[in-house]
Symmetry: C2
């Protein structure tokens, strides 16, 4: 079999693939709004039916919330290995503010830009219906051309990704054996730019903590008590100020345990992307990277952990002035994690750090806000090398291994619950307006995405 | 003339004095509520009429807000010097929550406690109608007994003290020559306890500043920008943490310029009051004085300046968590000042301190919230010695020189605008419930207060 035949079939079938994307976009599967629950279910049923039509053993599976779609390829494979788990989500964001949409968000259309580029416009075209269909349509072409797939494939499609995945943990645990395979492939990320394919190989994890410092049992007058009475804002500021040293490093004991230096070639390839600090920061009115000294913007963003203060409040914060010594002060702190940093250890280290700095009369109470480890697909992973070569062949430009500054919780769960690494391969672009009005997905993303998955599956099966 | 005759006349006339206090309390002179403007005016007219009845040249004087009462004694004096300015205020606080008053706030009554002590209950009995009348009634007795006063007296009664004195500055400046005399006497403070008279010789001043630190021109996602993007809460916390050293001293350059050490005998008399840190702090759930190390609670409160954070806000402060890098963070800071600390210099030093610590990309904007210097009647002032001896003679217990932790703005204005020192002599008690329901003034405060002013005026005129 030649991959070229599969690719030709993809090209010939592009209009039909597009038609199916339009059908899926027309389903208003907004997961956060209970009014759309039936539409979400229709989305799951549509996906299961399409997968079944290709030849997958597909089912809609109940959860406490919206359903999951699980599909297994039980047919012919070129090789038994690897067995990949593909993940995407068929639910979408709400469409508010609806008045900013040029046309109906659920009536997809092709818009041709002045330069001739074609964009598929509609809610979910990029996030994540168009992206998940790139994989499904690649599988369809393979089956149509060869009667089978290059390797074992299981598909998991979620219906609650846009509403915090409340049922995911339980579902993964209950179906652990069915879903645990050699590697997970997730299509929910972006290319580096419209010409340069990318694999997101690292994602930062997240530990959220809220701390409230209390002192006196009520607010006090700063004239009648100022001096003798402890001020919790002062206590809090002092603690926060000690969390970073002069070079921008986080001072928590053990914080950098599990953080590795970038391999030289990865660092070189990131430097080769040519993203200057100015180009990254200037659109937001900034000019100077504020993270650890001596590291590039991309390294600070993708490869280094952080400690950030997301919110702080205490005392009188209204108009004018009130001479109060507040009874309490609160901060919300988050840590972005990389590599093998352990969320539980970092939370414990932070709490000990705070407790050790409390003066007499101050008390701290802690409230956790989630914790997930960073994802680090080893840079020398064979999955990466294979996917990279396939993407490079498709796009004619070397694929880059990039990182993600944010968290994609499902990836951490695949790691911790199913023991699987994940390769994130996506074809979105930075201007896709996901979560916003007039969301779009470039036709080149959709078409090139389908072709890319065909090449990746083929390459994986070459071993 | 013997002071004893004046005191006897005061004793004999106490019921009549009380009747006048009742008349004044019945006037609903709530200055903050425009609905009571006519009542405030009635209060001024009542005061002016009473002063005129004693023989003062008294007038109600217009301002942009509520009127002032000014009265001059042009009659016989035992000595031409000193010329004292007496200040009080005839306006009162609102009465909300009205349902917590046992009886009508504006229908004063005498309540006899189980131990036989009598209390005058009603809005303004202590703050400040009862207190200002102690002086007026002392003058009345002197004139009745001797046909004159011991020395020159001018009376200034304000009608906007409870609403921030918006017209006071302009009035003092416009009438500077008429109001500038040898010393000001203010009756709006408390005794140390029900048996121990006190002169408030020091009051802390106040500089209020609001600072907003900004960085990026909008809120950013802490995953997608955390690291490279500067966090204003972190910048602010670092600056605030540097404002105090390990011993609790404020680190602003020049902050302690004009701050003197307490004279040994004053320190000894404060120590002699026997107020332990525990007694002062325990009612509020605290145990350890948080001010400058090595100084007593009273010294921290009355004789030392502070830097306090009265409010802080930035980023997401609602329920749950939001992974935001905020665009700005704001703090409200106040400095309590003592001695000759210069509010303008301290404001400038603080702003320079902040500016010097801003990293690249951070900006600070400042908003002033008032500034007034501390009051420090020199501890060796002859006014103090005279008043102290008179109070000690009246109460049979040595009068103590105390400080006030808060600010009484009029005292600073007398100093800066009229060039006059002020002695604060008051007869209120800590349990008077000023600004609260069921405000009261002990009959012993009223009676002893009138007798005290008679002795003080007499002693001042002895030179």
């Amino acid at each position: 079999m030649s991959i070229e035949a599969v690719l030709s079939r993809i090209d010939a079938g592009l209009d039909a693939s597009l038609g199916r994307l339009f059908d899926l976009v027309r389903i208003k599967s907004i997961s956060t709004d209970p009014a759309f629950a039936e539409e979400v279910r229709r989305g799951a049923e549509w996906c299961a039916a399409e997968l079944a039509g290709i030849g997958f053993e597909a089912s809609v599976r109940q959860t406490a919330g919206h359903p999951m779609v699980v599909a297994h390829w039980r047919g012919k494979v070129a090789r038994e290995a690897p067995h990949v788990l593909f993940y995407g989500h068929y639910d979408v964001q709400p469409v508010d503010p609806i008045e900013l949409w040029a046309t109906d968000p659920f009536e997809p259309r092709i818009e041709t830009r002045a330069d001739g580029a074609k964009q598929i416009v509609g809610r979910g075209t990029a996030d994540d219906k168009g992206q998940l269909l790139t994989f499904v349509e690649a599988a369809r072409a393979f089956v149509a051309e060869t009667g089978g797939l290059p390797c074992r494939v299981t598909v998991l499609l979620e219906g609650e990704e846009e509403s915090g995945s409340p049922s995911l943990d339980a579902f993964l645990l209950e179906n652990k054996a069915e879903l645990s395979h050699d590697v997970a492939l997730v299509c929910d990320t972006n290319m580096w730019d419209a010409k340069t394919p990318a694999i997101t190989a690292t994602l930062r994890g997240l530990v959220g903590e809220e701390v409230t410092i209390t002192a006196a049992d009520r607010d006090l007058h700063s004239g009648l008590f100022g001096g003798p009475a402890l001020n919790p804002i002062r206590v809090l500021a002092k603690i926060l100020a000690e969390l970073h040293d002069e070079t921008g490093r986080v001072t928590l004991p053990g914080f950098y345990d599990g953080v590795s230096e970038l391999p030289a070639e990865v660092k070189a390839s990131w430097d080769g992307l040519g993203l200057t600090a100015d180009a990254f920061l200037k659109p937001y009115g900034l000019s100077t990277p504020a993270g650890e000294q001596g590291r590039s913007v991309l390294e600070q963003l993708w490869a280094r952990p952080t400690c950030e203060f997301n919110g702080i409040t205490g005392g009188y914060t209204g108009e004018g002035f009130k001479t109060v010594l507040p009874a309490k002060a609160t901060v919300k702190v988050s840590f972005r994690l990389v590599g093998d940093q352990d969320p539980a250890k970092i939370r414990a280290s932070f709490r000990a750090f705070v407790e050790a700095r409390l003066p007499k009369d101050a008390k701290a109470s802690f409230h956790p806000h989630g914790g997930s480890p960073g994802l680090a697909l080893p840079f020398d992973s064979p999955w990466l090398a294979t996917a990279k070569a396939a993407l490079t062949a498709e796009w004619g430009v070397p694929a880059v291994l990039i990182g993600g500054g944010g968290s994609i919780p499902v990836v951490g769960r695949f790691k911790t619950m199913l023991g699987m690494d994940t390769a994130l391969v996506g074809f979105g672009l930075d201007d896709d307006r996901i979560h916003s009005p007039n969301e779009k997905y470039d036709l080149t993303s959709f078409h090139g995405g389908i072709r890319s998955w065909a090449r990746i599956l083929d390459a994986l099966a070459q071993g």
